[in-house]
Amino acid sequence: MEPIKLSFNVDGENFVSAGEASTAVKTTLKKMGFPGDTVRRVAIAMYEAEINMVIHAHGGTVDVEICPDKIVIVLADKGPGIPNIDLAMQEGYSTAPDDVRSLGFGAGMGLPNIKKYSDDLEIETELGVGTTLTITINC
């Protein structure tokens, strides 16, 4: 099977539409017959990354490659970058503003959740340039 490729633009600072890309990928994986646990892990990891893009980076792009044995999600933004990845990976550490917290986000669980539900997480970030997350989930 040739890999299936999907691409999305994530609208920054739009919390109503946040998650649409994740929902579309989840629906596609379900229709393709991927195991429920795999679909759930992809949905959770991608949603958290999508929300991070909306909170911190004014949106960005998502490219998803669906292979029989793995799903690779690449999220690229042109946001401020992550000053300290080790801190950002700690549960409870957050730089989200108060208005985001009032929506139930910004609890400092985004990146830890992504790592928890993925098999591999690579973070490339440069201050003032942007961040690219590559999330791999094996089937």
Partner: protein, 108 residues
């Protein structure tokens, strides 16, 4: 126990029933959505006072078939429409979170 059986047994008011036969396997109470998506077990009812549209998105991603809104808080139309579109049931409890969880715990 199905979502409709849960509503009847606990005295919750159905605001929207997406799937009457959806099984409820447990419950998870929290208002921080990243905690919910990271820790709630698949099939759980989400007990919360949060009513924004992201509550439904998180429920969809984490495979939570039902949201129980405590203290009679009501969802806005955007949230309700998303619940209809995405197949998530919403129940309303007049009680605070603790008492709502106690009621669920007695019947599950």
């Amino acid at each position: 126990m199905t979502v409709t059986e849960l509503a009847a047994a606990c005295g919750f008011t159905p605001i929207h029933i997406a799937d009457e036969t959806a099984p409820i396997k447990g419950a998870y109470a929290c208002d921080l959505l990243s905690w919910v998506i990271g820790r709630a077990e698949e099939g759980a009812a989400l007990v919360t006072v949060m009513t924004n549209v992201n509550v439904i998105a998180v429920s969809v991603m984490a495979e939570l078939p039902c949201v129980v809104l405590c203290e009679s808080v009501t969802p806005d139309e955007v949230t309700l429409q998303k619940a209809r579109d995405q197949g998530v049931s919403i129940l309303s409890s007049s009680k605070p979170t603790y008492e709502t969880c106690l009621a669920i715990g007695k019947v599950l």
